[in-house]
């Protein structure tokens, strides 16, 4: 039965939200034209009302869409294409925003939350509410239009998430036969997204996206209302908040990629990744100029430019990733929903509005003529902001290549420019030096910022002496240790050494700031803490990427007779089941396919699982136990958590040493997407060992069994099966056969064969049964040995038995393994950076939110102290 009600509620709510956003932005626009302090609040009250209506409508839209997914209403295209019956609730949350429409909703939702927070939180400075919220509502107007799903003639406005299957594909024959047809199951969530990071990474990222609107709205309100300097104070904590959330969200995405995708790293310079990185850099640059302005009254114009640019770049990122313009360049941009015109309008509207307003007001923005001295902290903060922006600009210039192509094509010039063939090398070339610059500047800038007394050459040398010495000491120590082979890598690349020294300097310089501030006021050290975090991240990136080492290089000693004797990297090894291979300092062997079973803490060997008609159920062939604890007994029915995923057990054993561990790289052969391989990572303190399968034999292809070989045996006989010695122990009657219901009068017997394999003995129990007067056979496969054994017949007169054996090629996997040294430092650095940001938010919030006139003065004293 088709439930059109919930979709109608959702669609109607979208329209209400859209209209309310129009009303709210108009009313706030009018409200902000009334004089501050005027008694007439009618426009403002109306605007607030409209915004709350908008908020309620948005929540209703979300409720409707989630209900469609949660209740498996596959009559709706969104549920059918993103969800499926077996999806656990937490992945239903991620399939909510897997589609474009849902992710727009997420973005809209955060704007609503932030808007409500601003309306209620900014009680002290009421004058900002109307202009800031006018900007918010105006943005909401554009965003809700993206999910409006209204078609007027040829003009399509927005793509509705509430479209029914029959309306989405009216040509499908099934709907011609039965318009009320409802599919039984959905096509499911993209398996790469079935990861806990995908549950929290998108909301975090979109909260960051949404939060960049707040400083932007303040800046625009300031330009509009002519309050050119006051906006910095309330906008700064929000800018910090946006930067930390966006940064953490991006790193979460990086960690998800590291853990789930098999491209071998956490950052691939994919256009979609770049699209978030660029505004983040610019926003961080903007924060620095704002902080410098708060103290030195310089850099106001730069703050305007950078805060506005960061928001416009967020819109540009949205345009890039959602318009389909990157289709040829990126593997994970969204497909075009026909919204590119609308997205472009959104981008263009705000770009024109912001740039126009800024140019119009430019002359009136106050500046100081005071020249900054080289021994002034602010001066280096500006240089740092410039380096951040240049780094962002470089990524922007390259990432936009497909846009240039489209643009040139649009005006009739054919262009065939493509992204650089080796993107990592291209970006690294610049970003590495930007990293060096940022590390050094963050050290020097902080030392000068907090240096006491007169800002002269001498005080600077005093301040830099100790951190400088510690840096050189530690850097030489690390290099010497690496040369002596104490670390796993030899550090001799001069560029990497430069980055290492710079990052160490940043750590020690900022550490000395923290030590100084501990005595005074530790809450002021947020900047120093986050700078240490950044420096640690740089060190982590330096080692994990610069010294990443593929250890699965083919060491078989095989001579390649192919075309090229070149230095081609042969980065993958073939592992036959149960045949150990030497790889780096390990002996590696592959021991079969495993699956996740509900209620069992470890992966369960597929050989113990007898498949049933329902792919999510299996019957235990033997006792399933972990350690001594038996979780399931033979014959129990088990629930498989994700039958499409297979875990390949790979045993690593150190040749010299006792270390031994097992990894389970995962793979799934997906009918729509081919092989989806996810790595398994062994974490060591100083490195990660990262392994994934590059290829597996296609499990959907029938195995190529050899000719049946028949043996006529009696109990106790020994036979040779495909080079393995086997003993036939006899037969026994059994009461139950997995997957078969035995009725009265049915007989089932199983043969017991013991086969001596390379590593252990195997027991095969092929079954012969007589059911409903028909003979049935359940052969047993010993996948480890590539054997299938069938119990053919019983000669009861002579007590002899007929056993049939087929052999096949043994199972194998192709494995790629690499080491990522000190990758932990990157994650630790991220956490440290976030802590620093939070400290800075708390501090700036305190001084920004308090209306007491004394407060700013007091903090200024501490700042200059």
């Amino acid at each position: 039965m088709i439930n059109t009600l919930i979709g109608d509620i959702g669609h109607a709510s979208v329209i209400v939200a859209f209209v309310a956003a129009i009303v709210s932005s108009y009313a706030y626009f009018m409200a902000s034209r009334t004089k501050a302090g005027a008694a007439d609040n009618s426009w403002r009250n109306m605007a607030r009302g409209a915004f709350y209506v908008h908020a309620a409508a948005v929540l209703l839209v979300i409720f409707a869409l989630f209900n469609i997914i949660y209740e498996h209403r596959y009559e709706y295209y969104y549920a059918w294409s993103h969800s499926s019956n077996h999806l656990p609730v937490y992945y239903m949350i991620s399939c909510f925003w897997e589609g474009q429409e849902g992710s727009f909703l997420l973005w809209i939702f955060w704007h609503v939350m932030l808007g409500v927070a601003l309306i209620n939180g900014g009680r002290k400075n009421k004058e900002w509410e109307a202009p800031v919220m006018a900007m918010f509502s105006f943005v909401q107007l554009f965003l809700t239009s993206m999910i409006l799903g209204v078609v007027i003639g040829d003009l399509k406005i927005g793509s509705s998430p509430f479209i029914l299957m029959r309306d989405f594909m009216p040509d499908a024959p099934v709907f011609a036969m039965d318009p009320n047809f409802v599919p039984q199951d959905g096509t499911g969530l993209n398996p790469l997204l079935q990861n806990y990071w995908m549950v929290i990474h998108p909301p975090t990222l979109f909260l960051g996206f949404a939060a960049t609107l707040v400083p932007f709205a303040f800046a625009m309100a300031a330009l509009w209302k002519g309050k050119f300097v006051e906006w910095v104070k309330p906008a700064l904590p929000w800018a910090l908040f946006a930067a930390v959330v966006l940064g953490v969200g991006t790193v979460m995405g990086a960690y998800w990629a590291y853990e789930t995708l098999n491209f071998g790293g956490y950052w691939n310079w994919d256009p979609v990744e770049n699209a978030v990185y660029i505004p983040w850099l610019v926003l961080v640059g903007g924060i620095h100029t704002m902080i410098a302005y708060r103290r030195g009254k310089q850099g106001l114009k730069a703050s305007y430019i950078l805060v506005i640019a960061s928001f416009i770049l967020i819109l540009y990122a949205t345009f890039l990733t959602r318009s389909g313009i990157l289709g040829n360049a990126s593997v994970h941009s969204f497909t075009d929903l026909g919204l590119s015109g609308q997205l472009f309008a959104y981008l263009a509207a705000f770009a024109v509005l912001a740039v126009g307003l800024l140019v119009y007001r430019w002359k009136r923005i106050p500046t100081t003529e005071k020249e900054l001295s080289t021994y002034n902290g602010e001066f280096w903060v500006f240089i740092g902001a410039a380096v951040l922006c240049l780094a962002g600009f470089q990524v922007l210039a390259t990432t936009s290549i497909p846009v240039y192509n489209s643009f040139l094509g649009f005006i009739g010039i054919e262009s065939n420019a493509a992204l650089p063939a080796d993107q990592i090398e291209h970006y690294t070339k610049f970003q590495l030096w930007a990293g060096v610059g940022i590390a050094i500047l963050s050290g020097i800038g902080q030392l000068l910022w907090w240096s006491k007394g007169e800002k002269t050459r001498n005080t600077f040398i005093d301040a830099i002496m100790l951190p400088g010495m510690l840096t050189l000491l530690f850097a030489s120590l690390i290099i010497v240790l690496s040369k002596m082979g104490m670390l796993s890598e030899t550090i001799d690349n001069p560029v990497y050494i430069t980055l290492l020294v710079a990052a160490l300097f940043a750590v020690f310089a900022n550490l000395s700031i923290i030590l100084n501030l501990i005595h005074k006021k530790v809450t002021l050290s947020g900047g120093a803490v986050s700078h240490i975090g950044i420096a640690l991240m740089l060190i982590g990136i330096l080692f994990s990427s610069g010294y990443s080492n593929i250890i699965s290089q083919n060491t078989s000693g095989m001579v390649y007779s192919r075309e090229f004797p070149d230095d081609i990297n042969r980065d993958n090894v073939l592992l036959w089941r149960n045949t150990p291979v030497d790889m780096d300092k390990y002996t590696v062997s592959y021991h079969g396919q495993f699956q996740e079973v509900d209620g069992v803490p470890e992966y369960v060997n597929k050989e113990l699982l007898f498949p049933t008609m329902d792919p999510y159920k299996a019957i235990a062939r033997g006792d399933i136990k972990v350690g001594d604890k038996v979780y399931f007994k033979t014959g129990d029915t088990l629930d498989l958590e994700s039958p499409e995923n297979t875990y390949y057990q790979v045993l690593y054993k150190e040749r010299e040493g006792d270390d031994e561990f097992t990894l389970y790289p995962r793979a799934q052969v997906n009918p729509n997407m081919g092989l989806l391989a996810s790595p398994d990572i062994k974490h060591f303190a100083d490195k990660d060992l990262y392994s994934h399968v590059s290829s597996v034999p296609d499990p959907n292809e029938e195995k190529d069994w050899g000719d049946l070989q028949e043996f006529d045996v009696a109990a106790g006989d020994t036979i040779i099966l495909n080079d393995y010695v086997a003993v036939f122990n006899g037969i026994e009657r059994i009461d139950q056969v997995p997957g078969v219901v035995l009725a009265e009068g049915d007989v089932a017997v199983q043969a017991d064969l013991k086969i001596m394999g390379e590593r252990k003995d195997y027991h095969a129990h092929p079954v012969l049964m007589i059911k409903d007067q028909m003979m049935g056979r359940v052969p047993e496969e010993v996948a480890d040995l590539g054997l299938r054994i069938t119990f053919m017949n019983i000669d009861t007169q002579n007590n002899r038995f007929k056993i049939g054996v087929n052999a096949t090629q043994k199972d194998y996997i192709i494995l790629k393994a690499m080491e990522k040294p000190f990758v932990n430092i990157l994650w630790i650095g991220t956490i440290v950076m976030s802590i620093g940001f939070v400290m800075a938010i708390v501090r700036r919030k305190r001084e920004g939110g308090t209306p007491r006139p004394a407060a700013p003065k007091k903090t200024r004293e501490v700042q200059t102290a």
């Binding site: 593997v331 210039a397 081609i568």
Partner: protein, 141 residues
């Protein structure tokens, strides 16, 4: 001259340098004919080629070879570019699993001797993210 002006000039100079260098690193989409010409003139920069897999009359892919048992790091196939020029391509990595299903293939690399050595393969599959058909088994209710 004010210090900020000097810094401004340096920043602009660096930005121009970045643009020049990015333009220099940018690759191009070319045909196999052009890739061969480039190789002959000694230009070994990597290029992008867009093409389709060579198929026979029955729609079977021809000229594709991957035998992991012999060499898991060697995969070769024949690609037909937009000018209908056929070229053997070698990829020193395992075969991407959904290769046969791809609608369009974008390869990055350069000609070496008489084969194109690819170091990156980007596949465009017909329904990678958007399912366009209700499958028969779900429809047969």
């Amino acid at each position: 001259m004010k210090k900020s002006h000097i810094i401004g000039i340096i920043v602009i100079a660096l930005a121009i340098g970045i643009i020049m260098s990015s333009a220099g690193d940018a690759s191009t989409y070319v045909s196999f004919g052009e890739a061969i010409e480039r190789a002959e003139s000694g230009n070994d920069t990597k290029v992008h080629v867009v093409g389709r897999l060579k198929k026979d009359a029955q729609g079977h892919i021809v000229g594709m070879n991957y035998d992991p048992l012999v060499d898991p790091n060697y995969f070769t196939f024949t690609l037909v570019d937009t000018n209908r020029v056929e070229q053997q391509v070698v990829y020193f990595n395992p075969k991407p699993q959904d290769f046969e299903r791809s609608e369009q293939v974008v390869i990055t690399g350069s000609m070496q001797k008489n084969v194109f050595v690819a170091d990156k393969i980007l596949l465009k599959c017909p329904s990678k993210y958007v399912e366009k058909e209700v499958q028969q088994n779900t429809a047969s209710l």
